[in-house]
């Protein structure tokens, strides 16, 4: 576009790097609160909707605060990869991010491990013996990443599988938990203060 041949010109974002990240913990503050005012055990309000993608066998869209995810399920369909007969079905998972998913410019981290983590989460709950010789494909696209991406993807994927009519033992959900310990050395009795916050990005 605008025909500049050769290698891509290097660009930089004018936004100040690492600018507005307020520290969540302050040293001696025992009563800190979460930036969005939630309780420690409180999840963000969620929007979940099936039937987002008409071309797929089943699909779901999930919004948890700023984390927006679409999951499509295709199948059971013919496996292009399978060479041998198998009397249980196969599951194929893939999680990808849009280029504008993370607030920082650039790719962010690719999270290539999320595909196999999604596979591990789903393989226990799907009844693979109900679709022998075929494959069920579960594809996820993270449109915007606002924290707890993998847990939103897993919850959305189980909804999409239900929308596709794939037999499962149950619907599965996931949540991310952060555990932060605070030890005060000033007081004579060592105070160990465990704080558990859910779905926070640090």
């Amino acid at each position: 576009m605008a025909a500049k041949p050769g290698a891509a010109t290097p660009t930089y974002s004018p936004k100040l790097v690492g600018s507005s990240r307020l520290p969540i913990f302050k040293d001696s503050d025992l009563d800190w609160s979460r930036p969005d005012g939630r309780g420690f055990h409180q999840c963000r309000p969620a929007l979940l909707q099936t039937g987002a993608v008409s071309s797929a066998s089943g699909s779901a869209y999930a919004e948890f605060g700023n984390t927006k995810v679409i999951v499509s399920v295709f199948g059971p369909r013919e496996s292009k990869k399978a060479m041998v007969f198998s009397d249980v079905g196969r599951l194929n998972c893939n999680v990808s991010y849009t280029t504008f998913a993370s607030p920082t410019i650039g790719q962010g981290t690719d999270h290539k491990e999320y595909s196999s983590m999604l596979h591990k989460a789903l393989e226990g709950v799907i009844m693979m013996e109900t679709f022998p010789k075929t494959t069920v494909d579960v594809f996820a696209l993270v449109l915007e990443s606002g924290g707890s991406d993998l847990s939103v993807v897993i919850s959305c994927a189980s909804l999409a599988l239900a929308d596709a009519g794939i037999m499962m033992y149950d619907l599965i959900t996931a949540v991310s938990v952060v555990c932060a310990c605070y030890n005060s050395c000033i007081h004579s009795s060592a105070l160990s203060f465990k704080v558990i916050s859910i779905g926070e990005e640090c």
Binding site: Y12, V53, S55, F100
Partner: protein, 302 residues
């Protein structure tokens, strides 16, 4: 054509869905002879079109365009680059069209879809040659800094007429674009002025902002496109995936808001495009351009 007789016999006994799968062409031709399509549309009518702006909070401009079920999400992010010496007053737009595996059963992860780079190239050629964007508006400091706009279009649901929806989402994203206010600091780098409390304002307040307020690009000659299928002597506007897979001759006409033709695209296919067919396609595209202009006009007012 000996099959014709046997299918006539079978068709009286078969269910509609089975007939649709086994004899798709005959199914469609039955409808076309009544000047209708299976979803009840007239031949020259496009599907319902919806455009939503500003959905992606991490981008400087974004839009979601839906034509029927085909859904495209476009987002623009602005970064600063050094302009080339040939054109020190011009910025640049880098456009990329992605088809992630969620959008269609034909796309596999790890292997880009066949259609994606074709549509990517066609889109950037169309937007460039329509003159919608004046690259000089993207200049910040002549010879030193200019904007590079990264426009990424994601297909979220592929149900035919991908180029039309992608172009519409790109145009809508440009109309939604808000260029951030920036200033040149002492090191010769462009920095954003956010007016936030934590900033070191000393270096910035001395220089005035290079662009005065959050600016929008002026868009002239906005291109609108319509894809049609040519089949025997029928012309079907805005095809679905099913129609595209059965009838292989696609024609795309791109017109701008003053009815000038920006591009005409026909790549192969079994039907030949006679001048009468071309005229009809252009006429349909003209009507469609008016509809789309109105939809975008309603968006801007919001």
């Amino acid at each position: 054509m000996g099959l014709q007789d046997s299918s006539q016999d079978l068709s009286t006994e078969m269910e509609v869905d089975a007939f649709r799968r086994i004899f798709p062409l005959r199914f469609f031709e039955r409808h076309l002879s009544e000047s209708l399509r299976p979803d009840g549309r007239q031949l020259g009518k496009a599907r319902d079109t919806i455009v939503n702006l500003g959905l992606v909070s991490t981008a400087d401009g974004s839009a979601l365009a839906k034509i029927g079920s085909t859904t495209m999400l476009a987002a623009i992010r602005m970064e600063v680059m050094t302009p080339s010496t040939d054109s020190p007053d011009e910025g640049c737009i880098a456009l990329e069209f992605h088809m992630p595996p969620i959008c269609s059963p034909t796309v596999r992860p790890g292997r880009p879809a066949d259609a994606a780079p074709v549509i990517s190239k066609r889109l950037s050629d169309t937007i460039l040659s329509s003159g919608m964007i004046d690259l000089k508006e993207l200049c910040l400091v002549s010879g030193k800094a200019a904007w590079m706009g990264y426009l990424d279009i994601y297909c979220l649901d592929a149900d035919g007429a991908l180029f039309d929806a992608a172009l519409l989402s790109a145009v809508a994203a440009f109309s939604n674009l808000q260029i951030p206010v920036v200033a040149l600091n002492d090191n010769g780098r462009i920095v954003a002025i956010t007016g936030g409390k934590d900033q070191d304002n000393a270096s910035i307040t001395e220089k005035e902002a290079v662009n005065k307020e959050k600016r929008k690009l002026t868009l002239k000659n906005i291109p609108f496109s319509l894809t049609c299928i040519l089949h025997k002597n029928y012309i079907l506007a805005d095809p679905t995936t099913e129609e595209e897979s059965i009838m292989d001759t696609l024609v795309t006409v791109v017109l701008d808001s003053s009815d000038q033709m920006v591009s005409f695209y026909k790549s192969g296919g079994s039907a030949l495009a006679y001048s009468s067919a071309i005229k009809s396609c252009v006429e349909l595209a003209r009507k469609r351009a008016k509809e789309l202009n109105q939809i975008l006009g309603e968006m801007d007012i919001d």
